[in-house]
Symmetry: C2
Subunit: 305 residues, 2 copies
């Protein structure tokens, strides 16, 4: 039974106060997929790249990820993003966004992907997200949706249709306020859960994340870091770790999702230690275990239940 | 052995999206003192009010707080602050600040206060904070300092002298960045702890708080609230709950401080439910116990240590 991730596979060129890269492999599906492999062994990607992507697919397949669902457009160019982070690494300027083959992306679901039980719909047009759901013969056990303010601005009706068909929505706090029209995140969560998802994850970057669902709230800390080298892909790495953990434990409930958020946060904390996907290629299970312990130590206190 | 709190006792006039008050009793020492009484029974205030404060002192003494250290200036007027909160209740405009008797405040320490073991130096000029320390014959077991960006701008040298003489500093994240010149809160904490305090609490409002010290970090959640009625005094209520808990448990260490932060956060979550000090006057221990359980539920997850 597989975990399918739909999203971008891209080239990124990144500048941070610590240095600068040429075109390196990026994209939401790449980050999410790499992250998920540390938790689950049947990870499959759906995406599109240009012919120029070439051997770069090896970075992904080397971690055992199935790329049969990645369309390679002959003569096409891969989606390219370049950006420059400010000194605080908390904000950035996009220098260029060349959609290239992504402009006409129509997700292909190989027959071998029809065993999908866990589906991560990465941040893409709501139309692509709906098309994916319609091309899967069976409704997956868990559908996680990532989206952003841009789609709320230009495709809200379609986004609302997707929301009716997903189990978990992940957005940031500003997006939760925009989508709901409520400043209080408690009130925002009530309105958003009424739109369809059973669970809502509000990502707050350096302030951690909140999980709402089953009438409960969970507040996950972020690990305070001395150095953030490159934040690119941290949110996608979080989502990949989250759904990877859910696929691993199989049982869909609030308690497991709390742990899944901690696993996702731990994976994201590695991602930012190096440029692009670099750190996500050579993690060991021991490193992950130590990092998880840091999250336990960070948030534990001794008031009796 | 007493808990002494030095700070403002004031009149506030507050406007929020939910309503508006005439002059009501406020001030940092008032909020901190009321909060501390729920955890410790020997709480003493040092402050100054004008003759116009009159019977309002009864609000404070009714909770068993010692007010011998509150100077009443004959013919003087009490410090007055008025402000209007924006719709998000996260920002506000100060409409007026009339220092009145606070302009010449010189803290008087009654002889009966010389048993002070726990000292909270509320947000005031560093000169007043130093004068208080010098007028105590014995160094208290625990000195907690609250300050703000204003004193970093206009009295940094004096502030640095106070920092050398305190155990715990509480400031917000922007102030920690300003004081240290570091964006990363981990690096900021290292620089600030090198200035004198053994522990640093970084208050992040709706994002909770961080505690640094003994080479450890603790991340405390804030309780997500559907309605914040009036945020005035929340930070002071937090500080009062924090030091009240420390006075109660007596042993100064990182683990106790983690709990103290949760107690402080719980007290602050009550404070914002009504205008001014209203909610802090009629809390029950049962209500506090239930609220503490909400903090446990909010942050607990099941990854083994």
């Amino acid at each position: 039974m597989s975990l399918v991730i739909v999203g971008t596979v891209a080239f990124d060129a990144i500048e941070t106060p610590f240095g600068k890269t040429d075109k390196i492999v990026g994209g939401a599906a790449t980050f999410s997929g790499l992250s998920a492999t540390y938790l689950y062994d049947d990870v499959k990607l759906v995406s599109v790249v240009g012919e120029d992507f070439g051997d770069n697919l090896n970075i992904i397949t080397a971690k055992g990820i199935d790329v049969d669902g990645i369309e390679i457009v002959e003569g096409g160019k891969t989606f390219f993003w370049s950006g420059k982070y400010h000194n605080d690494l908390n904000s950035r300027d996009t220098l260029s966004t060349d959609l290239n083959v992504l402009a006409d992306f129509d997700p292909k679901i190989p027959k071998s992907y029809q065993d999908c039980e866990y589906l991560l719909l990465g941040n893409l047009t709501p139309q692509i997200q709906i098309a994916t759901l319609e091309r899967l013969q069976n409704k997956p056990k868990l559908v996680v949706l990532d989206t952003m303010n841009y789609w709320m601005n230009v495709a809200l009706d379609d986004l609302k249709k997707v929301l009716q068909r997903v189990d978990v929505l992940t957005i940031n706090d500003e997006e939760a306020r925009q989508l709901s029209g409520e400043y209080s995140l408690v009130k925002a969560s009530e309105k958003i859960l009424a739109m369809g998802p059973k669970y809502l994850i509000i990502k707050k970057g350096e302030h951690g994340a909140l999980l709402f669902g089953e009438g409960q709230i969970f507040s996950a800390p972020a690990l305070p870091l001395a150095d953030v080298f490159d934040p690119t892909g941290a949110g996608d790495t979080f989502a990949g770790g989250f759904i990877g953990y859910m696929a691993k434990v199989k049982s869909i409930n609030f308690n497991n999702m709390k742990n899944a958020i901690i696993y996702g946060s731990a994976m994201a904390s590695f991602c930012v230690e190096r440029f692009g996907t670099e750190r996500m290629l050579d993690l060991t299970q021991d490193e992950i275990t130590v990092r998880l312990q840091q999250f336990v130590a960070l948030s534990k206190f001794d008031i009796a239940e």
